[in-house]
């Protein structure tokens, strides 16, 4: 596989994952459980939009066809989106939102921590900023998971249910293909399989503090979000997100 083609796809996968999660965070805006938390979720949303913009812009540059970050974000359909399925899962309630941020955040943190040393300078630069952001997102989500898990019976049930329902999207976080293999060889990308043990440790530690039991292996695990195989939720999210530029393709906003 040609490096530039692989790199384009690699960037779009990261950008899509950040953008779709940001979109979910945007849905909370004005509806959070308390004013302070509304502000916190907006901060995370802003970080994620920033990450998406950085990686889309770099992808557009690599592609060299004069497209912009917005062309990539707004003019692809659901089968062309390359985000991990975990982040497109609906907000359901605050417990789902925090669990989703946590499970994704731990991997994202580890990934950016490795990519800081990427042989590709742009990737390294973008990752340096994202790493700081994800460090905070993980801390914030962890604190909440612990409080919900060890709070009231109601909150324990809700966070337990979030964990059990979102767990089926966790193996997928580590999926790799020839895009990754190509870039790992040239020292640009990071080998996700090497992050699994540390991810397990981070997750186990927080779950234990939250008095939650880690779901056992087995059962359904989704596959292929990073190649366009999604859950039913993504199409709806995109139709809302993309409608204006699609309805008025000649407009500049």
């Amino acid at each position: 596989m040609e490096t530039n083609i692989a790199l384009y796809k690699y960037c779009v996968r990261i950008a899509d994952t950040s953008l779709i999660l940001a979109q979910r965070m945007c849905e909370w805006c004005g509806h959070g459980p308390v004013l302070e938390e509304d502000i916190a979720m907006s901060n995370m949303g802003l970080d994620l939009i920033g990450q998406a913009r950085g990686f889309y812009s770099y992808a557009a540059k690599l592609e060299g066809k004069g497209r912009t970050e917005d062309d990539i974000a707004y003019f692809r359909n659901e089968r062309e989106f390359l985000n991990r399925c975990l982040v497109e899962q609906p907000n359901t309630d605050f417990a789902y939102t925090m669990m989703r941020s946590f499970l994704h955040g731990c991997l994202s943190y580890l990934q950016f921590r490795t990519l800081v040393k990427s042989k590709d300078d742009t990737i390294a630069g973008l990752s340096e900023k994202a790493l700081k952001e994800m460090t905070y997102h993980v801390r914030h989500a962890s604190e909440w998971i612990i409080r919900l898990g060890d709070g009231t019976d109601v909150s324990h049930q809700k966070i337990k249910s979030a964990l059990e329902n979102l767990w089926q999207f966790t193996d997928e976080l580590f999926e790799m293909d020839e895009v990754d293999q190509t870039l790992i060889k040239s020292g640009i990308a990071c080998d996700l399989s090497l992050l699994r043990a540390e991810w397990d440790q981070m997750v186990n530690e927080v779950l234990a503090k939250a008095k939650l039991v880690r779901p056992t292996a087995g059962g359904y695990q989704s596959k292929g979000g990073f190649n366009g195989a999604h859950t039913e939720h993504l199409g709806h999210l995109l139709s809302e997100m993309q409608y204006l530029p699609r309805a008025y393709p000649d407009a500049i906003w």
């Binding site: 940001a22 805006c29 907006s42 802003l46 709070g151 407009a251 500049i252």
Partner: protein, 316 residues
């Protein structure tokens, strides 16, 4: 008990308070203040804070549909600021002896009011331009005046807010300018937004001075430094040239520059509409209250869980 001695003390306090106000010093939380001053301030500050929080909703309505990533980021940052500003003002209001939970309870039960403008719907993307440019433009005029008000915590919150809000009306105006330079459909959206928002924005400054029941005291105590009509005029004078510059029409046939007064003259404002929106009969009053109540109710278990956890830990 109203003994002559107490009356005399009261008068000494009032004199000292008035002297402090007229010498331009701020009143601080622990200073003696007339009951009515405290009550009026609490009413104003909590209304102001509620307005920031309810004001997140009409813009939040377009956040997930923002037409570019840059616009989405800017809008999210702006709405987040509104949450922050609500929080600063609640924080200032709490120094008057009422805590935030109680103020929010008054909002949710319909006892407290918030700015009438947020009871209008946002119906097309250009409304994000109109809200930023006109609504925040009007708010800035108000808040710049409030930054000089006599109550220290309110004034300090306003100074911080004015500094941060500077970009809000600019980003709104930029959206409008882009749309007016854009396609025919975009120009129509922009004009539609201004048509719908212009008059309700003028109403934001409140009833005309002759009918403003609380104004006298507030002005005497330097809680308000300018009258509703003065501020409204100031807003119109600075906004009309901005509209002309981008070619959007202000929906007022009577609008014209008066070279003698050096102010714009404008048509009659429908204050009956303001009254009915404020008393709960605007297009979105019920929706906004439902949205706030739902958020509060759906968040109760989260707030409770955090309290339960903190209690367990403090006992451990």
């Amino acid at each position: 008990m109203n003994t002559p001695q107490i009356q005399e003390d009261e008068q000494t306090h009032i004199d000292a308070f008035n002297a402090r106000i007229s010498s331009g010093k701020t009143i601080e939380p622990k200073d003696w203040m007339p009951q009515k001053y405290r009550k009026q301030l609490l009413r104003m500050m909590s209304q102001h804070a509620h307005s920031e929080v309810v004001g997140m909703l009409p813009e939040g309505n377009w956040l997930t549909r923002a037409p570019s990533l840059m616009r989405k980021a800017v809008l999210l940052a702006k709405i987040q600021d509104e949450a922050g500003h609500g929080l600063y003002i609640y924080s200032g209001a709490e120094t008057l002896g009422t805590d935030r939970a109680e103020m929010i309870d008054q909002l949710l039960t319909g006892k407290a009011k918030y700015a009438s403008i947020f009871n209008y719907p946002t119906l097309n993307w250009a409304d994000m331009g109109a809200v930023g440019w006109l609504v925040d433009g009007a708010a800035i005029v108000n808040q710049t005046a409030l930054a000089k008000c006599s109550y220290g915590p309110y004034s300090r919150a306003m100074i911080r807010i004015c500094k941060e809000e500077n970009f809000h009306s600019k980003q709104g105006y930029q959206i409008m300018a882009h749309m007016m330079r854009g396609t025919k459909e975009q120009r129509e959206m922009a004009q539609d937004a201004v048509n719908r928002f212009w008059w309700p924005v003028l109403m934001m400054f409140g009833p005309s001075d002759a009918d403003s029941p609380n104004s006298d005291d507030l002005m005497k105590w330097k809680v308000k430094l300018y009258s509703n009509d003065d501020l409204r005029q100031r807003f119109i004078d600075r906004t009309v040239p901005q509209a002309e510059a981008i070619g959007v029409k202000i929906p007022d046939d009577k609008l014209k520059w008066n070279p003698t007064t050096r102010h714009y003259e404008f048509g009659e404002i429908n204050f009956d509409e303001l009254k009915s929106v404020i008393t709960g009969n605007g297009p979105c009053n019920k929706l906004r209250m439902k949205q706030r109540n739902d958020a509060h109710k759906n968040g109760a278990w989260v707030r409770e869980a955090a309290v339960a956890y903190a209690e367990k830990k403090s006992k451990a």
